[in-house]
Amino acid sequence: MAKTVDARLTFQDRLGGWRVRWGIGRYSYLVEPGMYAIGKPSDRDVVLVTANYKLTFDSLRKELNGINAWILVLDTRGINVWCAAGKGTFGTDELVKRLQSAGVDKVVTHRTLIVPQLGAPGVSGFEVFRRTGFRVVFGPVRAGDLPRFLERGVKADQEMRIVTFSFLERLAVIPVELVMSLKYFAVFSAIALVLGVLVGASRFQEALSLSLSVLGAFFTGIVLVPALLPWIPFRSFALKGWTLGLFWAVAAGYLWRAGPWRFCGNLLLLPALSAFLSLNFTGASTFTSQTGVNREIKLFAKPMGVAAALGLLLTLVGAV
């Protein structure tokens, strides 16, 4: 039996969405896989396929106000459609299995499934048809385009097919990156401050300003680079981070009146950190390829490591 859901999101849904955007409990934000009804669907209404990450499910149903449809939720272990498709959990096998276990062929009389386009890395349309007799139509990239897609007679236009990475879309993925990286900063900072205290009170000041400089490098790599992504020179994410990191290194040097050792240490350490964190942002972006990221790692991993180590060394020399 299909459960009935509403197109309206409650305050709790919104709060839950905000929580997982900040990385809180995002691996256990699930809906039960299976068949759902939205509106009052008949046996001739569309079947929309989606993932069982609740943030995904909610962003689909909130676009379906006034639409009668069935929603078939696949078990992707709480991962969004695109990432799960890359892993194959949002894939042909799971779709075929779920079609059968949910008895979709008894719920609807037609034989068409609307699968989000970003599910295509995992779902093979022709194979699903061969195995089940259901025809897969790839729907728009964004759930927001679904009403228009349905009005047009389940046809996507060019714009519905293209993935974007707008300013707001980039801002939305920053918090979880921040939360995940800040624990590394906390460890570094704790070590620096404890060492500072052990050496003496005047050194504590220096450890504190070093921690703040490093915090700025984190902020540069995790917030500034993603936010300003298209406007920073270079296509390489590491080089984008390195560039902005250099500006911050100079600013931090003036801000805390660094001596020559510390200033040079800053120039080496801080941009390398920003570069590394920017490179990590490739995973949250919508247009980087694995071969490309591999090339960046091959080119920049060693220089980043060497620069950071050398920078730290100069900073320590300047402190004693």
Binding site: R26, R77, C83, A84, Q117, G125, L229, G283, R295
Partner: protein, 96 residues
């Protein structure tokens, strides 16, 4: 926004292509098009190797080495000696 030049592993086999256009429909970056009943690569440098075209080509005419463009996953794979894996969807670990 475009990523690095000349990196993608995307390639087409014109002999096998029937011009059905499924690859064009599933590509999220408008990389492919159909011209004179054969698929063509319009915008090579926009390919992110997601593998949607390959998965949905009924005649095996599209080749691409699919993968995640995620440094974290690649680093993690290097450290554990496995294929790139961001850890999403497993019980432990963080995510891309």
């Amino acid at each position: 926004m475009k990523y690095l030049k000349d990196v993608t592993t995307l390639a087409l086999d014109r002999e096998r292509c029937t011009g059905c256009g499924e690859c064009v429909a599933v590509c999220p970056h408008g990389v492919l098009s159909v011209s004179e009943r054969k698929a063509v690569i319009l915008d090579r440098d926009s390919c992110m190797e997601c593998g949607a075209c390959r998965r949905n080509c009924p005649t095996g005419a599209v080749h691409v080495q699919p993968g995640v463009g995620c440094a974290y996953a690649i680093f993690k794979g290097m450290l554990s000696g496995t294929a790139p894996d961001c850890g999403c969807g497993s019980k432990t670990g963080s995510c891309c």
